[in-house]
């Protein structure tokens, strides 16, 4: 194995530490559109950062955070969140693509933005992904009991003296951070797939919320390894290969769990 592949494997498995627990909440709380919309908005962050000559990671993080909080506020009202999120999600994607195209003499690799380029990560990227994922995981574990309780029934959490609204906001911030960490690796179009597929594959074998998150992490790591192997063997792009491996894992799980 060459260094590129090892770095890709390290970055992918590091990212899975964050996407596994968050992906579970995305599934339990039916936030798939939410993840999509935030990921699409991240494209705008890339364009904005390049236009202002700021670090791309910073632009992505800032826009993802602002957009996620905006979505959070909007969906609180409870008015047709699916439609609103659908409009915002695809609107953000379209605007992001336009903004990237409008950049003067841009050296933007559109394919890498949409599907990621995990084979292009450097040692610094690997360290950043691991640090960021560890941070997301630590906060998720810290708020775990309250978040799981509120996923089941927010009033159960309130009666116990917790503040589910605050935990929801924390979860939103964690999702935005994870989106920012994921963009370079799997791209704007596949981030929510990386959140959802391993967690969905884990569901059939899980008996508790914790085992689902742990199994999702395992499924995610296997998907990353299998996807990279596929990518090398077939010469296919790495991001889609990882997601395809996760989809196969999900299908296998459904058959085996029967």
């Amino acid at each position: 194995m060459d260094d590129t592949l090892i770095r890709a494997l390290l970055a992918g498995t590091g990212l899975v530490l964050a996407t596994a627990p968050l992906g579970c909440f995305v599934i339990w709380r039916r936030m798939a559109f939410f993840g999509d919309a935030t990921a699409h908005a991240a494209l705008l962050g890339v364009a904005l950062a390049l236009a202002l000559s700021l670090p791309v990671g910073l632009g992505v993080l800032a826009v993802a955070l602002v957009f996620a909080l905006l979505l959070f506020r909007l969906t609180r009202g409870g008015e047709a969140p699916d439609t609103v999120l659908g409009v915002l999600s695809h609107g953000a994607l379209a605007l992001g693509l336009m903004a990237v195209a409008l950049l003067p003499d841009a050296q933007v690799d559109l394919e890498a933005l949409l599907f990621g380029d995990i084979l292009d990560v450097g040692p610094r990227d690997v360290a950043l992904v691991w640090a960021g994922s560890a941070g997301v995981l630590a906060v998720a574990l810290w708020r775990w009991q309250g978040l799981v309780t509120a996923s089941l029934n927010p009033d159960l959490a309130r009666a116990a003296g917790l503040r589910p609204e605050r935990d929801d906001a924390i979860l939103t911030l964690l999702l935005a951070l994870t989106v920012a960490l994921s963009l370079k690796l799997v791209g704007a179009l596949l981030i929510s797939a990386l959140l959802i597929l391993p967690a969905a594959a884990a569901r059939a074998f899980a008996r508790s919320p914790e085992s689902m998150a742990a199994l999702a992490a395992a499924a995610g790591a296997v998907s990353v390894a299998a996807g990279l192997a596929l990518s090398v063997a077939l010469g296919t792009p790495a991001g889609p290969s990882i997601i395809a491996a996760a989809a196969v894992l999900y299908a296998l799980g459904r058959v085996v769990a029967r």
């Binding site: 599934i27 089941l152 959490a157 309130r158 009666a159 116990a160 569901r203 508790s208």
Partner: protein, 248 residues
């Protein structure tokens, strides 16, 4: 009354709640004291659940004050548990949400609730009555000062409901916790209450079950029939269980 208020577990003063431009509660006063069973009755849309959620702190009133005794522990039993099939949850794990009880407490609580040996079973595999008992057992694990129940017997038949309310009453007697509940089973639940509050956006009348059942405001809402049923339940109650008489 103000002297009592000082020792109340929860006191709502002149509460006003509006949602979507519609006023749901207007000028509601409610104080719950240690150890009393208070039941809220009222027609659909009368604000019963909203009042309960205001006590929990889930609804923020537009006007009025909510005071809770410092360190108040509330045990909450929701009307239904909408369990999303994507969320794997065993009965034992559910009991440990959100506070992890000391080791051994969960099996003991489940056994006490008449649900032994099911800690490893999925919560989704339980019957409606079993879920209701598990919810109650979970709420009791925190040793609450106040037990809040939202239509706890929805989905149970009348004998099942009567048994459930007798259980609530004996729990109160054993633990001394106050109970606040909402119910549709007017006659059954009223008999197990110290105080009944008849709600219809505002408090129409309140007092002992007997006084409320004969109050004109209550009869205007629920008709004449329930009084006979209340007597019937009292009668059955007296025969099936030797509780004796109890004054407030």
């Amino acid at each position: 009354m103000s002297g009592l208020r000082a020792m109340s577990l929860v006191a709502l003063e002149r509460i006003v709640v509006a949602e979507g431009g519609r006023q749901i509660l207007s000028g509601v006063d409610l104080a719950i004291d240690r150890g009393e069973i208070v039941t809220i009755v009222g027609p659909n849309g009368s604000g019963k659940t909203t009042l309960l959620r205001t006590v929990l702190g889930a609804v923020r009133p537009q006007a009025g004050r909510v005071r809770r005794a410092p360190g108040l522990r509330i045990g909450y039993v929701p009307q239904r548990l909408a369990l999303d099939p994507t969320l794997p949850m065993s009965v034992g794990r559910f009991m440990a949400l959100p506070a992890r009880p000391p080791a051994g407490a969960v099996p003991a609580a489940l056994a006490e609730a008449g649900l032994p040996d099911i800690a490893d079973q999925p919560l989704a595999s339980l019957s409606a009555g079993q879920v209701q008992r598990a919810l109650l057992a979970r709420a009791l694990l925190s040793d609450p000062d106040l037990l809040v129940l939202d239509e706890p017997t929805a989905g149970l038949d009348q004998p099942g409901s009567a048994a459930f309310y007798r259980r609530i009453e004996s729990l109160r007697n054993a633990r001394g916790c106050a109970v606040l509940m909402v119910s549709h089973d007017l006659h059954v639940v009223m008999a197990a209450s110290d105080r009944v509050i008849c709600l219809n956006g505002h408090i129409c009348c309140e007092g002992t079950p007997e006084s409320v059942a004969s109050a004109p405001a209550y009869r205007a809402l629920f008709g004449e029939g329930t009084r006979g049923a209340l007597a019937l339940y009292r009668h059955e109650h007296g025969h099936s269980h030797d509780h004796g008489t109890r004054d407030g």
